[in-house]
Amino acid sequence: MKKKQNIFHYCKIQNNSVLLNDKIIVSEDKSILFSEFSKMLYHQIKLNYPKFFKMDDLSKLALITSEYLLTDYFKKTKKPNDISIILSNKSSSLKTDKQFQKTIDNKDSYFPSPSLFVYTLPNISIGEICIKHKFMGENIFFISENFNSKLINEYASSIIKNKKNSIVLCGWVDFNEENFKAFMYIASNNYIYNITTNKIDKLFK
């Protein structure tokens, strides 16, 4: 019987550094703004996806984190036709909401920005990942004060057990002002019954 692969695949981006499966692969000066940092990561991973520049910061963060993780994961495993995505955060799309609000604050200069408006929902970040990879699996975005690994794991287990998809991209992607944090991991049959939420919570911190 083939031995199951039990490596927990995750990616965390915060404080201008990228951690991939326990290894720091990027570490930049914390004073660099996200606009510069994200551009640097875009070039580092050779994304070659001009639509990236049109996204809001939340979607950029989600897309880049997913790129690191999916590229690494599918180096060793055959990429399925489809995957599901479960993400969560605390600030919803607040940063973009505020930017959009500025375009409609002044009655004498009332020019609502269409390109900002389309990003005034956090689940658009999931949509951007799905568009890039042509994923059409189940997806959901939770808003909660703290990262709820139990809820996310139960949801992912349900998707896998019910054979809706064999792979679920899970995690947290949050952006407020200039503070950001992304943590994503792969839930699959290989891991779901072997990893505890305690371990996930420790990695999240």
Binding site: K39, P50, F53, K54, M55, S109, F111, P112, S113, P114, S115, V118
Partner: protein
Amino acid sequence: MKELKLEVKSKIIEELNLGHLNVQDIHDNDPLFKEGLGLDSIDALELIVMLDKDYGIKLNDPTEAKKVFESIESLCSYINMNRLR
């Protein structure tokens, strides 16, 4: 007209978040949509807002908009003829 073209190109890069491009990358007769700059329907709305906000031009006719947004050349000619500020 040359100055206006530079101004409009800069605005397009900034307003439409085309951070991967420079002014020199946008040629006067390149199509703005599809195979040219690759703009989409949201960008078209953003261009309509830009015309109103920066030049006082209200573009309401979709047929007219299609011609105006063909290229930088057609867009700047239209601005030149219709601008209120």
